[in-house]
Amino acid sequence: MKAAVIVFPGSNCDRDMMVGIEHSLGRKPEMVWHKETELPDVDFIAVPGGFSYGDYLRCGAMSAHSPIMREVVKKANQGVRVLGVCNGFQILTEAGLLPGVLMRNAKLRFICKDVHLKVENAETEFTNKYSAGQAIRVPVAHHDGNFFADDETLAALEGNGQVAFRYCDAAGNVTDEANINGSRNNIAGILNEKKNVLGMMPHPERLCDTQLGGTDGKPMFDALVEALS
């Protein structure tokens, strides 16, 4: 796998993402500054979390217009795998690679804690090391993770198997209490139609290391490495 991590002004999980990928890949991905107009030859692009442009105006709105994003969109359309985590997910929706938007959390507070996610679609190159219905533990850290899409879009997402993860309890039950931010249908992560682009609010890269308290995020990177080598 040849991987790149995009760095925007205000990205702050770029190093976390680099380390997360390195755990599975055995070497560092390329770090690409947002002002670049060309991407190196890669088959996996990660758009990391953080507060690009301070989250000002709307989260991800300004980054979506960075020079490098034109390239990311082009590669995604050619089938290159793209993962957007947290702010990266917001950027991918603003750039039009994924449908819907991420609004302010229903309780209006920033939330940082471990949550459980039910794996809805375990047949993608991102998720095939999990089993369908499995509950995994992954941290969230966001202020604007409340996924919204209109009824029609939502029906399409559900119908095409584009929902990758939902917030659930430890036993895997998708409940209102487990819906930490008010997302429609408890959605925590979605795929594009071709399933080569995944956006998710929780941070798999933060739980790939036993010293940090768990490794439930690691199978995602392992799966990608396996699929792309």
Binding site: E94, A106, G182
Partner: protein, 79 residues
């Protein structure tokens, strides 16, 4: 010259901030307030004649200032 832009949520889009304010006003003892919707109000100084057209500002809104999936915008040009 200035442009005044209002960005508001489309009908049917849930507004978590508006809901919270609605609720907080109730707790503070302000009765009689129905729905609250929160949008943005943006003022842009225009320095260059070429940019003063309404169409131009509308393009800025479409490209950056508003997310047209969930938001409407309204542009007014003032002296």
């Amino acid at each position: 010259m200035k442009a005044k832009v209002h960005v508001t949520l489309k009908n049917g889009v849930l507004d978590p901030q508006g809901k919270a304010v609605e609720h907080a006003l109730g707790t503070l003892g302000f009765a009689g307030v129905g729905e609250v919707r929160i949008g943005k109000y943006i003022e842009l100084e225009l320095t260059d004649a070429a940019e003063k057209s309404k169409e131009n500002i509308e393009n800025m809104c479409k490209q950056l200032l508003a997310n047209t999936v969930i938001e409407n915008f309204d542009v007014e040009i003032v002296e």
